[in-house]
Symmetry: none
Subunit: 207 residues, 4 copies
DNA sequence: AATGAATGAGGCTTCATTCAT
DNA sequence: CATGAATGAAGCCTCATTCAT
């Protein structure tokens, strides 16, 4: 169907995403405020001014990169809610696995960093993040718990918990890696196991 | 004889701390890179150049503010390890209380932000933070668990856990407040209660 | 096909030298430390920041201007050594002519000024100057004297002199012009004649 | 009569000269424009603001230091004209000796440097220098030549020379030392001998 | 589509100088 | 008399952004 794109054409179509990828690299390495268009351009292997053909401002790049990443993440989370088999501990572990994967490496970690540091000046993105991504994640965990209650594994009392507490260690791990990796790297796998055990032990204990 | 404090003198002595306080405000509001000396000066109610009478560079201000805060925090933590009476759940709750107090409001929150966003460029401060503050906190929790094992409340198995998992929700709460306060404020007290319950339930369950 | 030079291009190629010329003017008028990039930019008819497209720092401009000038000067001096015909007095006069021309007007005068005033902080340029330019000049004079001895005009005793003594009045004239031109201008031609006569008389007298 | 000054009093009277001495050091080390009041104050062992009790501006310090030095120099030169015994070569050597002494070390060297580099902006001092110091020096040399003619040592033709040519090498030596001392120090004594020989040989040769 | 050239706004820092003690 | 405190002016430099090719 789609004609095998000539390299010129292909280039043109690929540019925006290439720029976004380069920007994400730069943002991750230096933070948003410290990032420069020059740095992004270099990483993308293009000239500084070419960026302006696709994005109007530095902020626009961040926003585009963010929306781009958001969509993919939402899909992942949706899939994650659907696939659900096995006992609570197993299911929870699987969910946590995915969250760690996305948070410790990948785009999500970068945006986390940026939002924490410079979120004051970008309330719209913040709201979008909270609404589109975090909410979905919360719902996924909530659904997991409901299922546990339904099967009799968990006590209905677990419904009253703030599910964010159950995921918090993952965020902690992501940030620890970002900040202290050089001076004191975290054994993510071991930490994750502790995390799952803590939550499962606590919830299952409530009969 | 010598009048207790001529206003000139008194000012001079107070200045450094005034500047540090203003800087912390500014850093908290804009992040370190985005902060300007002009902003700090305005908040302190002095001129831009006056700052240079006390600190040589913007980095020096950050460092001074940090060390200033570090010392106070260490003292708090030390005191916290000492005072310890009651059952595990009560003690843990008290420790967590203090951590929330310092992390959600106050200096610690600001430095957290800065380190996450711009830590790459200040490895020395990062190392200091990890060594002087976080370690102390970890030890405090570790001591608590040992005490619980000693009194027979907790299983010795709890010793194998990474204690950072037990505190992670507090960091989460601190960052959530920083980032999402405007769009979706966190009920910190409720969250904290969940946090304590989760950890206590899990640990006490392991017999 | 490719038009010989689009104005954009041509400009770009000319810019560095334009900036250097402007800088030399500015340095000459104010000395190096007192010179400002704003002044250079104005003289060059460009904006302050445009300078940074071509030179990284003020020091870099000085260095570039200097090297630029050095090369031309060395070539002149080399040519001057080569062309040599006639009796000692005539030859010496010709060499002195060139030295005055370059020293009293032109780049050399500016660098003299700068080196005298601010040489402490630029030892590399100083060394280069001594090695690449002054040495060549000394050699030229030395060669002249050797030739005079060979032809029997001069006594071999002249070889023991420090040739810099023979040129010193030229430097004096250059500096006098720089410093006292407004208050008491020097009749350079007359002074130069005196200079040549002094040296020639002294050397030729030694039989 | 004069009470043996109490140290306080003595201090007060000495201050201006102490400041001048410190300023001269600083000017010599960094040039005038690069010198700072802070540097002068440190060298003088006093506070920055104390300087303002005695001198209104940086320029005023330069001027005061200069006038101070001028007076002493004039006296020296006057004395130098008076004392005159022996043949031309001997006398000339003695005069040149004094000039070297003052130019290569001491205040005069510093002012030379400053005037060359930054004279444009201080025409009054320049004029004063030309009038009060250089003129006197020229006259001293002129008188020497007249005496030589009178005693029959020199030809009356020597009267037509610009006497500055005869002293130029001394200036050259002074500047060389300032600029190239680190990279290629000048053997001042040898150079001076060459200088005297050159001038004497030339003048005495004209019969 | 892509880029090299150019610039204005703004940040950090230095320093001569004034003010109050 | 002496000084510590404070500041305004000015300089260097960076960077997002516009213009012309």
């Amino acid at each position: 169907m789609t004609k095998p794109a000539r390299s010129h054409r292909r280039r043109k179509e690929a540019r925006p995403e290439e720029i976004l990828a380069a920007a994400l690299e730069e943002f991750g390495a230096k933070g948003f405020a410290q990032s420069t268009l020059a740095g992004i351009a270099t990483r993308a292997g293009i000239s500084r001014t070419t960026i302006y053909l696709y994005y109007d401002t530095k902020e626009a790049i961040l926003e585009a990169a963010f929306r781009n990443s958001v969509e993919r993440t939402i899909d992942d989370v949706a899939g994650l809610i659907a696939q659900a088999e096995g006992d609570f501990r197993t299911l929870f572990a699987r969910v946590v696995d995915l969250i760690y994967a996305r948070l410790v490496h990948g785009d999500a970690a970068v945006f986390f960093k940026i939002f924490i540091a410079e979120g004051q000046s970008m309330p719209d993105l913040i709201a979008l993040y909270r609404r589109e991504i975090l909410s979905k994640g919360e719902k996924a965990i909530g659904a997991l718990i409901e299922r546990g209650i339904a099967t009799g594994e968990l006590s209905p009392a677990c419904r009253t918990d703030d599910v964010r507490v159950f995921i918090a260690p993952a965020i902690f791990a992501a940030l620890w890696s970002q900040v202290f990796d050089a001076v004191d790297p975290l054994d993510v796998e071991a930490f994750k196991a502790c995390h799952v055990r803590l939550v499962a032990d606590a919830l299952l204990a409530r009969k």
